[in-house]
Amino acid sequence: MENLIALLVAAPLLGAAVLLCGGRRLDKTGHWLGTLLAAVSFGIGAVLFADMLGKGAEDRALHQKLFSWIPVEGFQADVAFQLDQLSMTFVLLISGVGTLIHLYSVGYMEHDERRRRFFGYLNLFLAAMLLLVLADNYLLLYVGWEGVGLASYLLIGFWQHKPSAATAAKKAFLVNRVGDMGLSIAIMLMFTTFGTFAFGPVLSSVGETSEGTLTAIGLMLLLAACGKSAQVPLQSWLGDAMEGPTPVSALIHAATMVTAGVYLIVRSGAIFNASPDAQLVVAIVGAVTLLFGAIVGCAKDDIKKALAGSTMSQIGYMVLAAGLGPIGYAFAIMHLVTHGFFKAGLFLGAGSVMHAMNDEVDMRKYGGLRRYMPVTFATFGLGYLAIIGFPGLSGFWSKDKIIEAAFAKGGTEGWILGGVALLGAAITAFYMTRVMLMTFFGEKRWQPAPDADTAPSAEPAAEHRAGELPHPHESPKTMTIPMIVLAFGSVFAGGLFSLNESFVKWLEPVTSFEHGHPPIGAAAVTGATVVALIAGVGIAYAMYGRRPVPVVAPRGSVLTRAARRDLLQDDFNHVVLVRGGEHLTRSLVYVDHSLVDGVVNGTAASVGGLSGRLRKLQNGYARSYAVSMFGGTAVLIAATLLMRGV
């Protein structure tokens, strides 16, 4: 059975190889091949899942060692896979959502002549992501970690002819690199501390080392997680990443890749459990990001950017949960899965809307779309209800549990974190309602389609009818089916998982669960959540439902303006890092040329001058030569006389 694990990775990898090297002859069929291989991967995952369910809770973990990767004295890195419940969850999520989004892309990228390559990249991403969650040691995980980074780089920059896209791709990769630095330092620390970096040995022998080391490792892992999961302070890339095609935003930047950080933290739970400081930092980062993302999400008019902000904030929830320790891990993953469903659904819905609106992304130019695209409206609405945590839907179950756990952490930080989480819930309700209202309700604020090149997010997937008013239409089946499936997920998944805590039990052997008891009682917390939810929706309705939405964004308060600019994070980066870096490199180039090189050239010049002066002695007059000869002879004789020992 465990020999199947490699196939999980191999199938999409094969697809990527074939599609990228296959050449034009695959343009016709390539996308179906890619989708098929993704589905194969999901099928294998399902088989393994079934097999796993058949076993007892303890012996469910499977191992497969392919070959010894880097055998160096005292340094053993194997290409080996580990499939336990945690990995299993991710495998199903990734391959499942992945397959759906492949299907969606078939329709979405129909008009793009580079569709084959797009699917190649998607398969590459699937392979890397599966490798990430299946690796049984941190080094192999690192490979997958960078692999998904590469895939996201390629996909964000898929429309490379747009400078904005190319820049966004580069930014994403660089910010992630900073995180990777943390991961590699963490791995090095593990190596020097434990002599290995395989999950088993490291996590089992955590107790034998000092807490300081563990804190260091934990913080480094957190840095890595921040990079990948767009947590403060490394969140700045996620917004720009929306330059990529919408399916990419749905799959990579909502459902799967950005949650890798949560996976890493949960996977390394033992380390964090052993170092409360690191754990607290994790929780704080999560809480901060939670608010940060939510605030940003409120101000954005670009529908994808608004959703990106929401993603940031939801992942903040997960990280917060992961920072709460055993009482939170399971809920972090649970929220991760449900979020995977409804956020992917929301993005696909957004894509469908943009598809219909000539790739217009500005919500102020939507409005009243519910009549024109009912399926999209329905699925998007269900996703919306799920994310705001409408009682009964997925989001409710997972998010509510997280808020409870936050309170349950106890002490002042418990209150603070819990409060933040509640506030976040309210803001979430607010901005999602805003999106909903601006997009599907109210009167039409449609604008004639801009030219392809000036389009804010010119997705050339759809044909442009420059200058015409858009006439929205429902998207083709290939696009609606995935949306419907995901909508089902976002409605029922949460309830299913919470059914006598099946999900928690399922994960318990890996993530060691214990019940958290909020000081004010779970019911009270739930009530508070619902109140917050109603408040958020109410305010949003008052602001955007009652009065008409201006097509041109009002100037807004200071906070709004700051939030539109991602709370000035980019400006900070630009001024401090980019400008500073440019000055540094420029001055260094100068130094290298004038100082380091100048010294050498200077010596050369001085030698030349000296020889030039000596050259004067060669005046060409035989007699002066004769003098020197004569003098030389004299000196020689003198020398000999002296030598003969006077």
């Binding site: 007059y621 003098v627 004569f630 003098g631 004299a634 003198a638 006389l641 006077v646």
Partner: protein, 271 residues
């Protein structure tokens, strides 16, 4: 001749001091005289003195050879060349190379001091004269050595000498490469160049002397440089007599005027 003793006799001492002084003076003059001819003559003197010293040292044959070869042949050769280049051409002793003279003097002094100190240091007191070797006749002794011990060196120097002679000829001799121009061609060239159509003026014309170094005088009495050979001009050996010639002319006219005046008075008397 008596075999020379290790130590020199008093007579020899006197001779040495007198002639030695002369030799040194000669040498100094050689390098200090402005004109090459004088240098050559001084050198000749020094060499003769050296010849005498050879004799005094018992190298009779060498002394004679010295006189014959050096003072006779080589110095004469020098003189010939000097004549060729110009006897009286004096080159200024003014130094053109900066610091050359001081360096030279310095080196010279240092070198001399070195040599002398070297000799002084070499403790050469024991002289066993040439008595024994000259017993069988010196020339025979030399001949024996030359033709036995030094025969190869001798042959080689011979070859060297011949080569030198040939080389000298090659260097100085100039083969006429092109046909000599005929009178006609020369005339035509003169016309073409148009510098000096008529033949050059002869020296000494209108001048009192007609020696080759006296330029002819132009009608206005100034000397005609062209009438003197270029070499002489180059050496500045042209004797200018134009001034004197003009005076003579004046005197001539005065004399004639006196005579005419007398004639006038005589005519008045006849009326």
């Amino acid at each position: 001749m008596s075999a020379l003793a290790a130590a020199a006799s008093t007579g020899e001492a006197v001779q040495f001091w007198v002639l030695g002084t002369i030799a040194v003076i000669g040498a100094l003059c050689t390098i200090l005289m402005k004109k090459a001819v004088h240098s050559a003559l001084c050198l000749a003197g020094t060499m003769i003195v050296l010849a005498v010293f050879y004799l005094a040292n018992g190298a009779y044959f060498l002394g004679v050879v010295q006189v014959v070869v050096y003072t006779g042949a080589i110095m004469m050769l020098f003189l010939f060349v000097v004549m060729l280049v110009g006897v009286t051409a004096a080159d200024s002793l003014k130094e053109t190379l900066k610091g050359q003279r001081w360096l030279a003097v310095l080196c010279g002094l240092g070198f001399g001091i070195l040599l002398i100190s070297g000799i002084r240091h070499a403790q050469l007191n024991h002289f066993n004269g040439l008595g024994r070797v000259n017993a069988g006749g010196q020339v025979e002794g030399l001949a024996e050595l030359i033709f036995t011990k030094y025969v190869f060196a001798f042959e080689i120097t011979g070859a060297l000498l011949i080569t030198a002679a040939v080389g000298a000829m090659v260097l100085t001799h100039r083969e006429r490469t092109e046909r000599a121009a005929t009178q006609r061609e020369l005339a035509e060239r003169r016309v073409r160049e148009g510098v000096q159509l008529p033949p050059l003026p002869a020296p000494g014309v209108y001048a009192r002397h007609n020696a080759v170094d006296v330029p002819g005088l132009l009608p206005d009495g100034t000397p005609a440089e062209l009438s003197v050979s270029r070499t002489l001009r180059a050496r500045g050996q042209v004797r200018d007599v134009s001034g004197q010639a003009l005076e003579d002319l004046k005197a001539l006219e005065q004399a004639s005027a006196e005579r005419l005046g007398r004639d006038n008075s005589r005519e008045e008397a006849s009326k």
